[in-house]
């Protein structure tokens, strides 16, 4: 092919697409064929709560350390989260619970200023919520504590968390993974708040299968189990 093709007027050379352009559709074909796979892959990876939600670790008004309180001092989860056995919400403790001890301990610490201000003014502490299931999900903490799924199954090693972050995706597939096979997580009654729990004999599956039968644990996997 030559660039010296004469134009219509016979003077100016006419632009002609180089020959390799003929092969472009052929080259694009595999890319276009793979594009949907890439798109699906990207949505699978980036739209999932495993990507969007896990790792959320906001700054709180007071740098409260669960490691110090629950880990080092060994205060039970339920000292503050009193609702966890009774209803859907574990409960954010009221300022009064902080002041149970902090009226005396570290009572002049500047870090605790928001707590003292809340205590004197009666205004709520503006704690930032980390774990939030979608608003069409009706999760109930009490049911899970009664069936005895350890706190750490969903919240991780809170007793080691200086700053709490979301550890699990709280996605539907994640919920169903356990609802279909609770024996992987079941513990004996009364051990839900134990951190770093080791099953008896080290065999979670054997213990879980036994407990599932004994305690008659049948988690719902139908829609209205969690959605109303």
């Amino acid at each position: 092919m030559s660039n010296e093709n004469p134009g219509h007027d016979g003077k100016k050379p006419l632009f002609v697409f180089p020959e390799f352009h003929n092969r472009i559709p052929l080259m694009l074909a595999p890319v276009l064929a793979l594009a949907p796979i890439g798109l699906i892959g990207a949505i699978w990876y980036y739209f999932s709560p495993s990507f969007t939600d896990v790792g959320y670790q906001p700054d709180q008004p007071v740098p409260y350390s669960h490691k110090l309180h629950a880990g080092d001092l060994g205060i039970d989860c339920r000292y503050c989260h009193v609702g966890v056995e009774k209803g859907p919400h574990a409960g954010v403790p009221p300022t009064q619970t902080c002041m149970n001890c902090h009226a005396s301990v570290k009572k002049d610490s500047p870090l605790l200023t928001p707590v003292r201000e809340s205590w004197t003014s009666g205004e709520s502490m503006q704690w930032v919520r980390i774990h939030k299931s979608p608003d069409y999900v009706y999760f109930d903490h009490s049911a899970h504590v009664r069936a005895t799924i350890g706190c750490e199954a969903c919240h991780g090693r809170i007793d080691q968390a200086v700053v709490v972050k979301q550890e699990q995706p709280l996605s539907m597939s994640w919920c169903l993974e356990c609802h279909k096979a609770p024996e992987n997580y079941l513990r004996p009654r009364g051990t839900a708040t134990v951190m770093g729990y080791k099953p008896e004999g080290g065999d979670q599956l054997a213990q879980g299968t036994k407990l599932k039968k004994e305690n008659n644990i049948n988690p719902p996997i139908h829609c209205s189990g969690c959605h109303r």
């Binding site: 980036y46 080092d72 001092l73 000292y79 009064q96 619970t97």
Partner: protein, 205 residues
């Protein structure tokens, strides 16, 4: 091919990896009605002046089933206002077990699991450690061993000295369960051989 790899790397770098800590609130690329305009527990409210969704019961109202008529159960007092010495609830193994669990949650941080007052929190600077309520050689220990259960109930309910009131954290039934377990701690640590059933005394000698 090299450009394709470069693009994939760039995409991964832009998007980051799963589970990376982030201070920014989650963005749901498909909102899906995940967050709806409704008031939920502990949420903020623009409707009420105090900014809270959760409401307190109006003044001078009584929650259904919580009339708290019994002075003995709800105040630990008899009809003359004296603290009662006899439990107003039935004592059984179930109550005792419940009491142990609740004691370990709410009391052990300061009073420690045996009642000696050497809990982890009590050892923090600034806090006056509570007296042992099991030590019969100590004046405070003796005082609490002989204290009527109604007075102990009153202390848990309303607090005393640096001990805060626990009426909001511990329901009434659990307070009585805790007192039952507290009595067991006192009894167990001041027991004599004659307290052990005769047929089992031999195994302790």
């Amino acid at each position: 091919m090299r450009s394709l790899i470069a693009m994939l790397v760039a995409a991964a770098a832009l998007g980051g990896c799963r589970g990376e800590p982030s201070k920014l609130p989650p963005v749901h690329l498909n909102p899906n009605m995940d967050t709806q305009d409704k008031y939920k527990a502990y949420g903020a409210s623009h409707l009420f002046q105090d900014g809270r969704t959760m409401r307190e019961p109006p003044a001078n109202t009584v929650q259904f089933g919580l009339s708290k008529e019994s002075d003995e159960i709800y105040r630990g007092q008899d009809e003359f206002g004296n603290f009662i010495s006899k439990f107003p609830v039935t004592l059984d193994a179930k109550l005792m077990k419940r009491g142990q669990e609740r004691y370990d949650i709410f009391c052990a941080p300061c009073h420690d699991k045996s009642g000696g007052g050497k809990g982890m929190v009590a050892q923090r600077p600034g806090l006056v450690p509570p007296p042992s309520f099991v030590d019969s050689t100590d004046v405070n220990g003796r005082r609490i061993i002989n204290m009527p259960v109604g007075e102990i109930f009153n202390t848990i309910t309303n607090g005393k000295n640096t001990m805060p009131a626990y009426r909001t954290q511990i329901p009434t039934d659990d307070r009585w369960a805790i007192i039952a377990y507290l009595r067991a701690l006192q009894r167990g640590q001041n027991a004599r051989l004659s307290d052990v059933p005769a047929d089992q005394q031999g195994s302790l000698k």
